[in-house]
Symmetry: D2
Subunit: 371 residues, 4 copies
């Protein structure tokens, strides 16, 4: 009997709110199917498009010169501009395609890209043009989902924001103990999403130097969420950290995720890392937040804080060493086309988007009788 | 109509191989239910108990003086010592309980423990004795599951090993590019699981100093898996990283997870971080492994490497600041009882266990026709 | 590389309330792990045991002479007799075992039992003693889960009841349009669970005749649930019918499930089958209930009604035709041991149990803000 | 804090092969997202369209006069006409809309439709035009998914076919013990999908009479699948019956599902219902198939047989009794528009489609090493 070249693509996350991303970089369209949105939620398209603009390339030399229109077309799920209970499907048609740039990739996988693993998994059937389903372009529909989630959350006083915590070895300062919606808005409005603009200037120089050197550079995104009630999430394997991490690692190029103190906490003593409980305006809070707002997988009511490590863009213009899949011999590679010298700054809204979608899912699940 | 104090405990992970952990620290028993194990797999009880011994406390002053027998009783799933296809349930009865030590915790939550969030979630109904369902003791049944998974994997040439990468600011060296089953075995046989025993001695001093100072200290566990075929895992949200991270954050005290270069990669340039492909003995491999054996969520065939950050034990003997839940006022707290000054070294086999269980699940799912 | 004899046993159902059944008929214990119960729910053990008694065999000649103690031991999830938020595990130890009765089954599969399919799936590793994991005995832990769910539901005015609708060609009358908790209680208290005792007497004669003839006979169970709010369940594949059916087919011997009019509706005209809406005491109701309380997968607020077809017990004492698995030749078979001439009457509480567990799951998921 | 009008729409089924249906009857488009298809599977568009034609209305007086183009546009998942591993999204744009027909429905729910339950669930936000997301029109994208699954299955010698087993009280004969691909093809090619054309003529008369009487009539679809290996499916809650039933109840109007003998088996004795094993051409088979090819939830290798009860179309042109949602008073209703006097014959390919998709999912999951 004929065998399968099996593929269990699973471009979906969420439990009660499910977000499924589809499309290939150079296919007809990319998009997202969102199942489980509350009904009666108005979608402010202007606000959504402003959010999508934050991840768009082509705005300055810090990112690829490719231009993407990225305007979502809503195929289902809306009635008079509001969610109607049925699954919402939004599609973004692909326009600016330069498939010819990618032809040699069919035989010579780009180092540290998914070309090789896609080929192992699906053989010659994989659509590798522009990274196919692994392309960073798939983060556009993710932002559609996250942008909608952010609107729904903000109506309940829950806000999600992020900034670029570092590029290479240059670092921004951290969010304060209690970031506000205003702070999130101020960062989002900046052309380069940092708290400290001097640090931002140094980061931008680093990115431009990398570009000049036909190279790329990595970075870290810090994200926070405020306004969440205590008590969300479940112990062990279905906690807030488990769910956020599972989804955040779905963003292309993310190689590390930490909450609160994260890896830095591992270098501390308990007396330094423990967050003392205290009472503030009648509320039980902690006077520090190394826990990142999560204890035992469950929200404490303090801000959730997390950091995602973004590896340097693997597409660099320098000559690189790879192999020919057909001859199984070493082969050189020079990647053509226009590429981002850094994707960490464009990842800032994407991390917000994924975080918002996961938190909305948790809220839908957890808020029985009290929300 | 009467409302719920809802609880969506979800102490389970896995897709086709499902691992469900149950029990509270001071309840009648803790245990694990494993659904989806291949049939006909012999379970070597001696080897399993040796693995469980690696996480046991009470062996030296580096851990709590509590002694736990932790011998699993198999309620189902075995026939003549081998898996029979039916779900396997293993129970560990609780013996050494000092519940009285924990009485004050009902009103005064321990900083950076789950006492507070459990109370928010379940009110007075939560079983907080000894941490209840959030206790580190629940890692014993996790190790039963992982120990069984390790045996099944090793019969197919797949090996999982780990070592203590750091305690506080003291660091071990990293695994080599291609760790072997022998190296894993050698580390596992050591009383203190490090690669460099000099570094290990420094780490142990740090732990004993913390103990003396009525304090605790954190650490990092590095884990690797070798022998996996390329092509396992799925893009975006169901990749190897997503699944491992989701499960690893289920280990109490884990606050960060990274793969390959992880957060260090975010400080590099693409030309440094990219892993060139090359051919070795006819196999396509990479000459470095910043990817940690995973590209686009899918295994490359190189070793999987990951690191988990373990926060310092929150239970320290120093007086601490907390609140009284009943009076909503500040209150002091001195935690009684016997506690680990560090849990990172005991977490080494737990990280192995969770990694092995997730990888077995992925293999069961992904190996169609080729395995 | 060595292959698997793969087994994806999946003895679990539910979404937020997950019920996992484990054990083999002649293993050490059978049991159930329930994850996601609301915290603070008292479990009335006397009431639970009374419920379990309803499915027990050995009470009269209508069922097997085997006696099962079936007293559950709670390993976890309770604190002072109430649910505490952690997963609840209950175990029933096996006592009355006659494994020798089943030895020949290893080579000669019983017709219409799972012996053959278990052997295909797991080869010689399958535990076939007494039906192994496929045994009707596994309905005891299901009743533990369902009995607990029934208690939680009844505190909110939701009641689930069932009766034996038919045995062979003898039929009971149907539930009235609006059955009550009192009616459910009255049927449950009867030694033979029917509405019309004359019909019940005829059914019992049929069963005894079958027993005398070394034969068995099938039956149908009708189940209803009252007190549910309108609006539970989701369209298409996650509706009340989808979920109930998926779980009910998990009861051994169930071969058909229908809701409301079911197969009879397929013989009607729309003008007969449609349920007119009307207003009663200010509530919108329907004056008939061919929908079985479900439209578009969502509850209408009318009673849910369903029927499950139970095939005749395949274990009959007459000589039967089978094959020898080792020789692949035709072979005779005479099943020894004590068997139920009918299991439909013992399935009545099991259908209630599964229905109650599914409905509780739906309520936990769906009751946002209104419950 | 503002509450939700919550909606957990869950228009998705499958485990490794996931099928998500989206769209509302009168929205911009309907469609399906299929995640987990094997890569490298060519899709024969001509064959697919021929399959879709079988469910199309407007061909004769037996169905509604509405005409639907129903040509799917593939947005993603294909490369050179074959599956490429990435999720496949297919959209069908809506053209022939008569929304004005449905305006009164907003206040007066149609009996036995989902108008009322959708309104309870989503309030005024529900898109009720043409049945919205509950419309039978959503079976078109289901058939896209099923048509693709059928092509993939048929390449491995697995065939799924169905016929109209009854309309009202008129019945077709049943499938023979071993139906063939040829028989399935012959039925599919008929304008009215029955085995016995005389019975078919009587059924058609019944439908036309119902139409004349401004009424509708129900029916039963029998479906079979041949060529499946033994050993697919899992015990208890993840068996072939559980999964098929869960999906089949997602087809609008299905109110009952039975396998093999189903409800008729409940009227039999064990000696009649048991399927004796025998050896045929060296294969272990059964000489009857009351089990419908499934024992203990696992395939026996015999044909799978199932029957789905389809209620009469609730949209009838006769005056009906309903309520006004706004005034909570009784109100009359005359449904305008063009409606099917029977949908059972159009449901024949839909039942095939859902069955094929579920079986492909099971095969993907279960075929380790042997397929």
């Amino acid at each position: 009997m004929r065998g399968w070249e099996v593929t269990y693509v699973s471009s979906e996350f969420g439990k009660l709110l499910r977000v499924s991303v589809f499309g290939q970089s150079h296919g007809r369209a990319i998009g997202v199917l969102i199942d489980g949105l509350p009904a009666g939620e108005n979608i402010d398209l202007e606000e959504l498009n402003a959010f999508l603009d934050r991840r768009k390339p082509g705005k300055n030399p810090l990112s690829t010169a490719r231009r993407e229109a990225d305007t979502p077309v809503f195929l289902s799920g809306l009635e008079n501009g509001a969610t109607c209970g049925a699954p919402l499907c939004a599609m973004i048609e692909n326009a600016d395609q330069h498939s010819s740039d990618y032809r040699q990739l069919q035989d010579r996988p780009r180092p540290s890209h998914a070309d090789y693993t896609a080929w192992v998994k699906w053989g010659g059937h994989a659509d590798l043009r522009g990274g196919g389903h692994f392309s960073g372009r798939l983060t556009a529909p993710l932002c559609v989902a996250g942008g909608i989630a952010k609107q729904i959350l903000s109506r309940r006083g829950i806000f999600v924001g992020a900034h670029l915590a570092s590029v290479g070895t240059e670092t921004d300062r951290s969010f304060p103990l209690r970031p506000t919606a205003e702070l999130f808005g101020a960062v989002a409005a900046k052309p380069f999403p940092v708290l400290d603009d001097n640090a931002g200037a140094r980061m931008q120089s680093l990115i431009l130097e990398a570009r000049q050197a036909l190279d790329s550079v990595g970075g870290v995104v810090e994200c926070a969420a405020v306004g969440l009630p205590a008590g969300l999430g479940d112990p062990m394997f279905d906690g807030v950290e488990n769910r956020l991490a599972a989804a955040l690692f779905g963003i292309p190029a993310v190689k590390g995720v930490e909450f609160g103190g994260g890896f830095a906490s591992a270098r501390l003593h308990g007396s330094e890392n423990n967050d003392p409980f205290t009472v503030e305006d009648g509320e039980i809070v902690t006077s520090s937040n190394h826990a990142g707002g999560i204890l035992g997988g469950i929200t404490t009511g303090m801000p959730i804080t997390l950091r995602a490590a973004i590896k340097p863009t693997p597409s660099i213009s320098r000559p690189q060493q790879t192999v020919s899949l057909s001859s199984r011999e070493a082969a050189g590679l020079v990647i053509q086309g226009r590429h981002d010298p850094c994707i960490a700054h464009r990842a800032v809204p994407v991390v917000e988007a994924v975080t918002a979608a996961v938190l909305l899912d948790l809220l839908l699940e957890g808020n029985h009788g009290t929300f």
